[in-house]
Symmetry: C2
Subunit: 201 residues, 2 copies
Amino acid sequence: MLGEPIRDRRSERHERTKAEILDAAWEIARAGGLAGLTLRDVARKVGMRPPSVYSYFASKHAVYDAMYAQGCREFLGRVSRLDLTGDPLRDLTTGAWIFIDFCVEDPARYQLMFQRTVPGFEPSAESYALAVQALESLRAGLVKIGITAPEALDMLTALTTGLVDQQISNDPGGDRWLKLVDEAMEMFLAHMRSRTHRKVR
Amino acid sequence: MLGEPIRDRRSERHERTKAEILDAAWEIARAGGLAGLTLRDVARKVGMRPPSVYSYFASKHAVYDAMYAQGCREFLGRVSRLDLTGDPLRDLTTGAWIFIDFCVEDPARYQLMFQRTVPGFEPSAESYALAVQALESLRAGLVKIGITAPEALDMLTALTTGLVDQQISNDPGGDRWLKLVDEAMEMFLAHMRSRTHRKVR
DNA sequence: GTGATAGTCCTAATCGTGTTAGGAGAACCG
DNA sequence: CGGTTCTCCTAACACGATTAGGACTATCAC
């Protein structure tokens, strides 16, 4: 019962160390792949013995979960900084680029957040709520652009995901891939328009 | 130097056991995920002690490699069984479905072959040659359909990959996803046509 | 101050992995 | 038969995540 005040004072340092551990984890994951992440390496990088990490995270999965949540917050921040011009193609493209950049600039993060590849890892309810919030925010942006039908969202998701995958695993020469992304956005918009026409007819 | 004849006689049994191990590995990977695959479990399933597996495969990666090669052969077989009607949309759709089905019906296999997610795994040169052959064969089929430009191939790859990812990780209700795939093929073909027009003009 | 308490970090040990060493026995060849 | 190869085993190692338990420190109530 007396622990509360202690916690309040110390928590600052605690949180700082926690962040330091998380930073180390990201660095290692980026360098050696998500699956290559090791608590031992993390501990070494922050100057601890492996078991000491457990003073900050209950398990390796808890570290993954914190990384997941951090990724969600970063993503949410970027989405909310987006502002629209009113030109559908332009807006769609910049919107898509937010997602695509986010994924491509850090494949380890992409793998953690969007591909389910870490053996027993499931984000906690708390972290998952963040993810839902982020995707919700993205969807709201798309609605403003005029993309409302669920099938359209599915299609756009598939398309962008596929582009990201291609960049991460094949990496065609930078320029070629950039053009591909733009062309894909054009294709998608043209398709959306043709569908509207069909319905009108 | 005298080993050859022995090897010839015994190899039959050897190959059979090897296949049995591989089957066990697939079964375990399908059930518990690719990363959940354990040599100990494999050994148990075929009634051996773990180290005995090393009489058949040099390492766990060698097992992965054999699975990879097996996947390539299966894929190649399906591609070569494809026959074309001459109707581009129809042919494209059936062709795409070969790839999509192949991926979706066994996510573990998809992960092994197309997502680079197993920590230190790289297919051997031999297995990789099989993969190249399979993709080459697929490309030849697409050329027959009329899809020749590399950008078109990139686009189609991205699109199908994205559709597969969506099915594996989200699984929207079966019917909805099936429609999405068909619509994507339509969209792609329409886009191809519009590009041709632009060039002609 | 003193003593209790919480927080941090350590060493030692457990358990589950892949993997190696080394040997026993069967199958096979001459 | 004698030698060779193959198959499988037990023992052991290295390296992961964890847990147990203790020392030391910072804090708090008094």
